[in-house]
């Protein structure tokens, strides 16, 4: 067992130990964990090199849609290591090299193919072009035997609940109780979501989160909720809704979904913090740190720096402390100091390390510190996962304090008929609120399907919801959302510095997009030199949000940063259009589909 494994995995009945090969060397892992977790647990943090600058890349998040790295698996290139679970004898290759020529021409690639001397010289361009094409670090396609195609499966239900966390489970239970046929889709190995990784008592709940989540799951299954795990709801096309499971690897299984109502309970996205060298392997999000620890028994590091003295940050620290991990919390605001292990008033951070983070240089008022760490966790802020709601056509707006949220009412209805949101996906903070919102959303689905009694129950719950919002002190924020839903008017407030920013200038080594190597400097230039401030244009000028993770990690940060430097409301900057599929689908799977089946 490696040094980072502190306990047995707690998930899955089939957590058997298997041996896989990584670059020819055998390592051990569990069948309940993805390649990402197994590699991390064995001390392998750098999986890949970045696209333009060949910088070492590890995963930032374990979420299958937050796909910033690829590995070669059993000869198949460009596989998502967070999507594939271990099987005996798996052969994984990571990429570690950085060609010398790239080092030499770095400044050319650095300027995103816009290098002036080459532009001016038309004769040189055809030669440069070949060089550029070859030096972009894209995986090479090879022909491989694609797995025998699994026929498309047609799934019909009254309600499809997207996401199987506490909000999603609560919605499914309520809807099922009122007689709806419910299909629950979740991309994890098992239902339960983030609360499954909480050994403490979440806000408003008087038992450990993992127990609460397990009980909900049990109840949902007992009530006959149909479940698809390791499956991603891919999106709404004009003529169909699609879900996809990347199994067998290299191919996959597709599901044509038809339902009368949808509850989007896809949770929230941890935003990466922006500071110098924030792309180094070993810098991860809270949800991954929690997941690794409480599901897979792997601690994220021995000396962990947590950015953000937020509920999530503090919760992670509590968990890690139980396993003798040294944690230190860094926060931007002042006044947190004095409490144990919080450094407050942090202005700037620089990460140090060659192919993994080894230390942080921290600047705070009148002081510079150096912290030796082996892991940095970003916990300053989250944003609702708006991918699916936005795709469906629900209105999205920025509400200060909540982020970009799907505008909804206290019954969790969005501006799209038949589409409801709940939990983190609606901008609510973690805890009991997720459960109650889920229940309301489930009841709302029952109401539009004319189920008796659902409306009265919803009325009662909505009252309780109102007082809970008050109790948690976010009723004024949520009221803004409800009001926007009612009036159709979205607030037009400017924002201060984004909470994720730990960087004083537009640095060339502070990354916004890990897929395409887009830095603060690139964004800043587009705003200040070209005068673009609308995210759609910035996206087209820089490529932000157009690569593998489809903007999951970069769009919100970009919008907030641009709003900040252009002194605009984030609602003016906007968030770029979301389109299907939410997760990439191999051509062999699509080619095997018959759409006219439904």
């Amino acid at each position: 067992m490696s040094a980072l494994r502190v306990k047995e995995p707690t998930i899955g009945s089939s957590g058997a130990v298997v041996t896989i090969k990584v670059n020819g060397i055998s390592i051990k892992g569990f069948t309940s964990e993805s390649i990402s977790v197994a590699l991390y647990a064995n001390g392998i943090k750098s999986f890949d090199r970045s696209k333009k600058l060949y910088r070492p890349r590890g995963f930032f998040s374990l979420h299958p849609q937050a796909r910033t790295v690829t590995v070669n698996v059993n000869g198949m290139p460009a596989m998502n290591p967070s999507e594939i679970y271990l099987t005996e004898g798996l052969n994984v290759y990571t990429q570690q090299k950085r060609p010398l020529s790239v080092r030499f021409f770095e400044s050319m690639i650095d300027t995103s193919l816009l290098h002036k001397p080459i532009v001016k010289n038309r004769l040189l361009w055809p030669i440069a072009l070949k060089f550029i094409a070859n030096s972009i670090n894209n995986p090479e396609l090879v022909e491989y035997e694609t797995p025998r195609a699994v026929p498309t499966i047609v799934e019909k239900a009254d309600l499809v609940v997207i996401g199987g966390g506490v909000a999603g489970l609560s919605a499914a239970i309520e809807a099922r109780r009122h007689g709806l046929e419910v299909l629950q889709i979740d991309d994890g190995v098992e239902l339960g979501g983030e609360m499954l990784c909480d050994e403490l008592e979440p806000p408003g709940i008087s038992e450990p989160g993992c127990i609460f989540a397990r009980n909900l799951r049990k109840k949902a299954l007992e009530l006959g909720v149909k479940v698809l795990t390791r499956t991603t709801f891919v999106g709404f096309f004009e003529d169909a809704a699609l879900a996809f499971s990347p199994y067998p690897p290299g191919g996959g299984t597709s599901y044509l979904i038809s339902a009368k109502a949808y509850v989007v309970a896809t949770g929230a996205v941890d935003l990466p913090c922006i500071f110098a060298n924030n792309d180094l392997p070993g810098i991860i999000d809270v949800s991954s740190a929690l997941k690794m620890l409480n599901m897979h028994g792997v601690v994220a590091g021995k000396n962990v720096a947590i950015l953000g003295a937020t509920e999530r940050g503090l919760r992670l620290a509590e968990h890690l402390k139980k396993y003798a991990v040294n944690t230190i919390i860094l926060d931007k605001s002042k006044g947190g100091a004095g409490k144990d292990a919080i450094i407050d008033g942090v202005k700037e951070i620089v990460a140090i390390g060659k192919d993994r983070v080894e230390a942080l240089e921290v600047k705070r008022e009148g002081e510079e510190l150096r912290l030796n760490v082996d892991c940095v966790v970003c916990a300053t802020s989250t944003n609702p996962d708006i991918r699916i709601s936005a795709q469906a056509g629900a209105k999205i707006a920025y509400i200060k304090g909540l982020g970009f949220v799907p505008i909804h009412d206290p019954f969790m209805r969005t501006s799209k008929n038949g589409l409801f949101v709940a939990g983190g996906a609606s901008g609510s903070p973690y805890g009991i609120l997720h459960a109650i919102e889920g229940r309301i959303a489930g009841l709302s689905a029952a109401v539009i399907l004319n189920k008796k009694g659902a409306e009265a129950e919803r009325e009662v719950l909505a009252k309780e919801y109102g007082s809970l919002l008050q109790k948690f002190g976010i009723s004024n924020l949520k009221e803004k959302v409800f009001k926007s839903f009612e009036t159709g008017v979205i607030p037009d407030e400017k924002i201060a510095e984004p909470p994720t920013l730990f960087c004083s200038g537009p640095r060339r080594d502070a990354f916004i997009c890990f897929c395409e190597d887009i830095r603060l400097w690139d964004l800043h230039r587009v705003v200040s030199v070209y005068g673009f401030a609308c995210l759609e244009k910035v996206k087209r000028a820089t490529g932000i949000g157009t690569a593998r993770c489809q903007g999951r990690l970069c769009l919100v940060n970009s919008a907030l940063y641009i709003a900040h430097i252009a002194s605009l409301s984030p609602n003016v900057v906007g968030i770029a259009r979301q389109r299907p599929p939410a997760i990439s689908i191999p051509i062999n799977v699509l080619a095997n589909m018959e759409v006219n089946k439904t």
Partner: protein, 378 residues
């Protein structure tokens, strides 16, 4: 003199740039959404010189000359590649028709090359050719980066004084005494001496508001894009059997489209699974190496289809004075845009009708002098 340009796609922007270059100081570009919201940034950004009609081929040859120089003009790297277009032909008739046309293309100085299936295999080993009868390769054709073409034109025009107003949808063109006097926005009017309609697929509506009917209509087209892979597909490969096309951007994404039956009109800019599956099936067969490639995104845009599938530019003398159009590009307007702007600017300022432009005047429909373009892709 004030010129109001409605729409900030390539047509509007290249016209604005050329007008500004010829000295027009007061140019106002009105855009209903944001800079280049329309087809321009939704296109496959390919250019070619091979067209079925001589008029279009000649036009495209000259337009390409501007396109490849654009980087030096605007300072934005257009990332021009000339990997060629490869048409895969499956029937004797298709081959015969291309051989016939190649005589014309030879005469115009743009000969293509006929490749046997084994020659294709040798040059492009990743293409499945067992069912292919012959290939036609046009080495003069290529691609560029559409976003930078649009932004580059815009920046160059803005530098010369043209002004862009976004979120300014023109509701109608104002006419007094058979002369345009301005355009109407939701919050007021903008005066103008000349109004140039370059609103792409939305132009029909604006013309109809003036009682002008031209045989054009929007058609929604979808596109799909894979994740990035090492650059290897140099040409744009067009499967004449299925109508599918596939190409790769220098940055690595492989993109393409296929025709699916849709109603014409301004359908919502959504995507269908039907399209995605059909394209995937075509790619699966034609490019075995792409079977494991992953589709990352799809989007849609409009072709502004004209009755003869050729673009429309200039004005009809029967129209109100000062009214000009450039649209109806039928899916190949992006590549024609640079020359359209150049010729149109001269037309507007000096009344000059260039010989290359003459066949594309809007009067051709009532005069029955169509330019029937059969080589439409997608």
């Amino acid at each position: 003199m004030r010129v109001v340009i409605v729409g900030s796609g390539i047509m509007g922007l290249s016209s604005a740039y050329n007008l500004a270059k010829l000295g027009v100081k007061d140019i106002v570009i009105l855009e209903k959404e944001y800079l280049s919201y329309g087809s321009t940034v939704r296109s496959a950004s390919r250019f070619r010189v091979h067209f079925w009609t001589e008029e279009n081929s000649k036009f495209a040859i000259e337009s390409k000359k501007i396109m490849v120089k654009l980087s030096s003009i605007t300072g934005w790297n257009m990332i021009i590649t000339t990997g060629g277009y490869l048409w895969l032909l499956f029937t004797e008739e298709q081959v015969k028709a291309f051989r016939e046309k190649n005589k014309m293309w030879e005469r115009l100085g743009i000969p293509g090359e006929f490749l046997s299936p084994s020659e294709i295999k040798e040059k492009y080993p990743y293409i499945y050719t067992d069912d292919v009868l012959e290939g036609f390769f046009g080495p003069q054709n290529g691609s560029c980066f559409h976003n930078y073409v649009a932004f580059g034109y815009y920046k160059a025009a803005a530098k010369l004084g043209a002004k862009l107003f976004e979120r300014s949808p023109v509701e109608r063109v104002l006419v007094e005494n058979n002369k345009v006097v301005g355009v109407m926005l939701p919050n007021g009017k903008v005066e103008a001496d000349v109004v140039l309609l370059t609103a792409g697929a939305w132009t029909d509506e604006l013309l109809r508001g003036l009682g002008i009917e031209l045989p054009t209509e929007p058609e929604r087209k979808e596109m799909a894009l894979t994740e990035s892979y090492r650059y290897f597909i140099e040409p744009l490969v067009i499967d004449f059997g299925t109508s599918a096309y596939v190409g790769q951007a220098l940055k690595g994404e492989i993109l393409g489209s296929i025709e699916v039956p849709v109603k014409s009109g301004l359908l919502p800019l959504e995507n269908t699974l039907d399209f995605l599956v059909k394209w995937a099936k075509a790619v699966y067969k034609r490019f075995p190496v792409l079977r494991g490639a992953k589709i990352m995104r799809c989007w849609s845009g409009y072709y502004s289809m004209s009755a003869d599938s050729s673009h429309i530019m200039g004005r009809d003398p029967d129209w109100p004075e000062g009214l000009y159009v450039a649209y109806g590009d039928s899916g190949h307007g992006f590549m024609m845009g640079p020359l359209i702007g150049k010729l149109l600017a001269k037309n507007i300022l000096y009344g000059e009708v260039d010989e290359l432009m003459r066949p594309f005047l809007p009067t051709r429909f009532k005069e029955g002098k169509l330019v029937p373009e059969k080589l439409v892709i997608g």
